[in-house]
């Protein structure tokens, strides 16, 4: 079993817009190893979200290749790519937008199980209830619709949905940035807990350095579509090499008096 879960090899993504060509991702190579959490950091427009979608095979790179567990995602026929999907799941920034508004909470969680024909309806239901319980949603509220939940609860439901297919890789695109501080902390706890319990590989994308520092084993920094630095979390925060990384770190405003910075 190779050590690499997903590997991007010098991928470039160019978008054609009315304003001209935009190089969202420019010759980036990135690997998420089995069982590790890779943090991907950058400001708005750095290309980090596009990178996530490229690594999920949701977008096709203009050049370069992405391999998931040794398989080139962009060479796979659509059907086989769909069959591979259960092994990589995604959690999005805007939980309300990412849930199906016309499905109840449990309906949303059951949907991927139904798509991949896992078990019968009854067993899917049982499993979905277990998942909702796992992420801390009162199962008595399983029949409510997404808009009846608060933002934090919606994100929990989205996480439950992503976990249903027992993925090897979970890609999270700014999963806490639309949430209030106290709710963000709850979700971070949940991620830490899930990672320890389920042994997932994580690609965790955020503009918030503190969040990434807390969760990631390794951190990659993107700026203007390019990868500027990549190293272990400890090294990166203790001794950043790249100027841009240094600039990012020095811009952080500490909260506590005894903060390390």
């Amino acid at each position: 079993m190779p050590d690499e879960m997903v590997r991007a090899e010098s991928v470039t993504k160019v978008f054609r817009t009315r304003a001209g060509e935009v190089r969202a991702v420019d010759d980036v190579s990135l690997t998420v190893h089995r069982g590790e959490t890779l943090g991907l950091v950058g400001e708005s427009g750095s290309g980090k979200s596009t990178m996530a979608r490229l690594m999920m095979g949701l977008q096709t790179p203009t050049s370069g290749r992405v391999e998931f567990d040794g398989q080139d995602l962009n060479k796979l026929p659509a059907r086989e790519l769909r069959m591979l999907r259960p092994r990589m799941q995604m959690v999005f920034q805007n939980p309300y937008g990412s849930l199906l508004p016309h499905f109840s909470a449990i309906g949303n969680v059951m949907e991927p199980l139904r798509l991949h024909e896992r078990g019968d309806k009854e067993s899917r239901r049982t499993k979905a209830l277990e998942l909702l319980d796992l992420v801390g949603i009162n199962t008595g509220h399983a029949e409510l619709y997404p808009r009846q939940f608060s933002g934090g609860q919606q994100q929990r439901i989205a996480i439950a949905r992503a976990l249903g297919l027992e993925p090897d890789l979970l890609v999270c695109d700014e999963p806490t940035s639309s949430l209030d501080v106290s709710i963000q902390a709850q979700i971070l706890e949940l991620f830490t807990d899930l990672r320890d319990r389920l042994g997932l590989s994580f690609l965790f994308i955020s503009h918030n350095l503190a969040v990434v520092e807390r969760l990631a084993d390794r951190v990659a920094v993107m700026n203007k579509g390019q990868l500027v630095e990549e190293s272990s979390t400890e090294d990166l925060f203790r001794a950043p090499q790249d100027d841009y990384t240094k600039q990012l770190l020095s811009a952080v405003l500490p909260i506590r008096q005894d903060s390390a910075l």
């Binding site: 209030d180 902390a185 807390r214 979390t233 990012l248 811009a251 008096q257």
Partner: protein, 325 residues
């Protein structure tokens, strides 16, 4: 305490009318002071009433809102009592406001010139030519290069950081005594955030009082001298900024700090507050925080809440804290 205060808000209460339901109380008995050349942080999460508080003082609430009590003393006048006509003379001239996103707070179809000068003319501060001069100077002051040329452009033609600066210039061109900044750095990248704060700090040093509404404790610590923490429309704690962050007292403040993650704090345990903030239409009786509070003692916490002084310049709305103190 309010003798040297620039603005003193006392027992402010604002409600929103709703169709077919009881009015919703968004701000409930809020009091605080801001001093000249000092910055006050109003800290809270969504729905805590921090923005509504400042919009009440400015008299720019939506039509469905009503101020049902309190005072806002500014320069010897009660802003809540003088009526819209008089308040308008204060608004934009003596108290100015900076918003979260300049993209939204600046009119996309008017040039910077028009938007930076119109209130100078409304308030009769100077004539058009002089207004233009002042606007150009203000743009230069906030660090926009080539202001003579830039003043003829539209907001969308500037970068995010420049646009935010232009909005600050728009607020400062009348040289107000008090600036209200509503999450002024939330919409910008971290690398720009510091520049915007330093810009505001310059104003503070020149004697302008600042009220900064924010949910970001790092920003609050960097920029502000005092802090007010709000939860579900009420003030739960008031303290000098450093004291609040290093030694929070109210259980909600403690929880907020325990939830905050920061760089270098990797090994500090996260202590999130369980549950979510109440829907304002179902606000718990007594202390609104008690259902989420680990130290809550019933029935007292569910029936009463009063603000108690717990130290120099410090109050907390929790009787348990006062007992400990």
């Amino acid at each position: 305490m309010s003798e040297d205060a620039l603005l003193s808000v006392r027992e402010l209460r604002t409600t929103f009318r709703r169709e077919g339901a009881e009015p919703l109380t968004a701000v409930d008995g809020v009091s605080f002071d801001v001093r000249r050349g000092q910055a006050l942080a109003i800290v809270g999460e969504s729905g805590s009433g921090k923005s509504v508080t400042m919009r009440s003082v400015m008299g720019i609430l939506p039509r469905t809102a009503r101020i049902t009590g309190g005072q806002a003393l500014f320069g010897g006048r009660d802003l809540l009592a003088i009526g819209d006509r008089e308040l308008r003379k204060v608004r934009g001239r003596e108290i100015a406001m900076v918003f979260q996103s300049a993209m939204e707070a600046m009119n996309p179809t008017l040039t910077l010139e028009r938007q930076l000068t119109e209130h100078l003319l409304w308030h009769g501060i100077c004539n058009k030519a002089e207004a233009r001069k002042r606007a150009v100077r203000a743009l230069g002051d906030v660090g926009i290069p080539d202001p003579e040329k830039r003043i003829r452009t539209y907001p969308f033609q500037l970068s995010g950081g420049m646009r935010q600066r232009a909005m600050i210039a728009m607020a400062m061109v009348t040289e107000p005594a008090l600036l209200i900044a509503d999450e002024p750095t939330t919409a910008v990248d971290v690398t720009v955030q510091r520049q915007i704060l330093d810009l505001l700090a310059e104003l503070k040093n020149r004697g302008t009082g600042v009220i900064m509404i924010t949910h970001d404790l790092g920003v609050a610590r960097y920029f502000c001298d005092d802090a007010v923490v709000m939860y579900a429309g009420r003030v739960v704690e008031r303290a000098p900024m450093d004291r609040l962050l290093d030694d929070p007292r109210h259980p909600y403040s403690v929880g907020l700090l325990g939830s905050g993650v920061e760089v270098g704090g990797r090994d500090l345990p996260l202590r999130p507050i369980p549950g979510s903030p109440p829907d304002l239409s179902h606000r718990p009786e007594g202390c609104p925080f008690h259902p989420r509070c680990a130290q809550a003692e019933l029935p007292r916490c569910a029936t009463e809440q009063e603000i108690l002084t717990i130290g120099p310049g410090r109050d907390a709305a929790c009787w348990k804290v006062a007992v400990d103190a």
